[in-house]
């Protein structure tokens, strides 16, 4: 599972409102203060300030909103299922008037949450930029808004984007009482599934070169693979950049033995979850299988990592200090 559903969003977002659905989830929408828009007659469906048809171009600024701002909370859901959510996340969603998110995650919300919200706004394949802007516009228009994502809002996710867009609109974080509710990141969800692969110094690297040049990614992989970090690889594979995955495997093999344990978790906590522990030398060939896609997180062991009883274990060094 990745927290980043739309890393390659630029090529898939043909339209500004590609399939977005705004559901009136509350029993009484008369108190719903519909979003932004320079046109004050915005309806409850498709409300929000992004009246431009140019995708990923921010429309409204704070000056377009008359109302006192509401609130904006970025909520991390963890692995995705309700039981992986913290009680604080649940509370934030129950308090929110509007909930904005990727359709997959909105669909996973518990009924008590979707029933208590006045509006749900979800987009299936839309870019996170337009969805985040929608959430911000709704907050600037006076609504209490939660924007959701799997994992943690700080791990390749929307906390930063929300602040960046808010700033570009002339808003401030304090004006909308911006808050981040953390969640369990994919690396830890997958680590738990595998045993104890990540108990020492660990790094997370995304293989998506959509926002980071591949040379930078390669340089980072070299630096950490040579230093004994365990490595959590996010966004490992997509059809458009299979060569990034190949390069990653090559670089890791320059620094680590082919029998280094590698844990692969596909769709953690979902119906199609699949977990395998393989050797680094066999990793590259798996890139072409269903096991590795954008919902997969890969955990690469260090020189001390071993496999025991179907678990992946990275010792911390206790055995050198204690007699057991």
């Amino acid at each position: 599972m990745s927290t980043d559903d739309t890393t390659d969003a630029s090529s898939t977002d043909a339209e500004s409102k590609c399939g977005a659905s705004s559901t009136d989830a509350g029993s009484d929408d008369s108190t719903s203060k519909c979003g932004a828009s320079t046109d004050s007659s915005s309806s409850s469906s498709g409300c929000g300030g992004s009246d431009s048809t140019t995708d990923e171009k921010v429309g409204a600024t704070v000056d377009d909103f008359d109302a006192a701002p509401g609130r904006l909370v970025a909520v991390g859901l963890g692995p995705g299922q309700p039981e992986g959510m913290t009680q604080r996340a649940r509370g934030a969603l129950l308090e929110a008037e509007h909930i904005v998110g990727y359709t997959t995650y909105v669909d996973l919300l518990p009924e008590e949450v979707t029933e208590s919200a006045e509006e749900l706004y979800d987009t299936p394949m839309c870019g996170e930029v337009s969805r985040t802007e929608e959430a911000i516009d709704r907050a600037l228009a006076g609504n209490d808004v939660a924007i959701i994502g799997s994992g943690d809002p700080n791990v390749y996710a929307l906390a930063g984007l929300a602040l960046e867009i808010l700033e570009s609109k002339g808003g401030t974080a304090s004006a909308v009482d911006f808050e981040v509710v953390p969640g369990v990141p994919a690396a830890q969800s997958c680590g738990a599934r595998l045993g104890a692969p990540l108990v020492n110094d660990t790094v997370s690297v995304s293989l998506s070169d959509h926002l980071t040049p591949m040379e930078t990614i390669e340089s980072r992989l070299h630096a950490v693979a040579g230093e004994g970090f365990t490595i959590a690889i996010y966004n490992p594979w997509s059809r458009k950049r299979r060569e990034n995955f190949q390069r990653c495997c090559e670089i890791l093999l320059e620094h680590r033995e082919p029998d280094t344990p590698v844990g692969i978790v596909h769709g953690a906590g979902r119906e199609d979850e699949a977990v395998e522990i393989v050797e680094l030398g066999d990793l590259e060939d798996l890139g072409e299988t269903d096991l590795i896609d954008m919902t997969t997180t890969i955990l690469v062991g260090n020189e001390d990592t071993y496999v025991w009883d179907d678990r992946m274990v990275t010792p911390r060094g206790y055995e050198s200090k204690y007699d057991y």
Copy 2:
């Protein structure tokens, strides 16, 4: 907040049972299958296999237990307060017969959890090794045991230690149905408090040289500071190793500008929580203040990180792709 309460445990653990308290929390303890021990007459107080008075030396092995093994679940509590716990963690604790942990975290458990447990075993300053062994012995003796810690069991915490000790006792993870319930790590709890400091490639490094040589820590800091990772520093300071913190600050300044934003969160989610955003050049002097101790996590920005409206923001690079 660190997930590692006893990194320097070796020097503080003078006794094997230093203040451990085993509380009969249930209303009826007749079903409590008291732990291990080579002596089958173990009482409910101080039960468990560690009958050796030599601290940190594992006692009982699987052969010392007649009962069918129970269960062992390592549960991450997140920041520590009940609202930071996932619903899955809450469920695992409600199901456990015995709960084992550091006193500070046991004290933070919600009443419904402590009331439903048959026994609570907590140690104030004891080493995590003896506490973890106690949990394992109780599981091997047939009890359903949860061992708890703040943050995530995979982040400088007890998931790996539990598997290592279990193996040393001749047990297997599958025999005790070993499971890890992930939690929100300190880096993400603190990141949320600061805004969006960690939305790109990130590394976590512990400055404790109790289990990792300082040369290794220094080499890792050099490698990642030169590569634009944001850096979460765990266990930043203790009186016995203030020079590690000084070295860390010096190394970071070799690679990053003195005005690089650094977020400091002390005691995240606790009563004595303190949050500050400072500049890297000022970090070293803060090592001698109350702001930085073993309950502090420090998040070091990369070259793109900036401070805006009291938030720390590391952009992901959207601004280079999108017009907003």
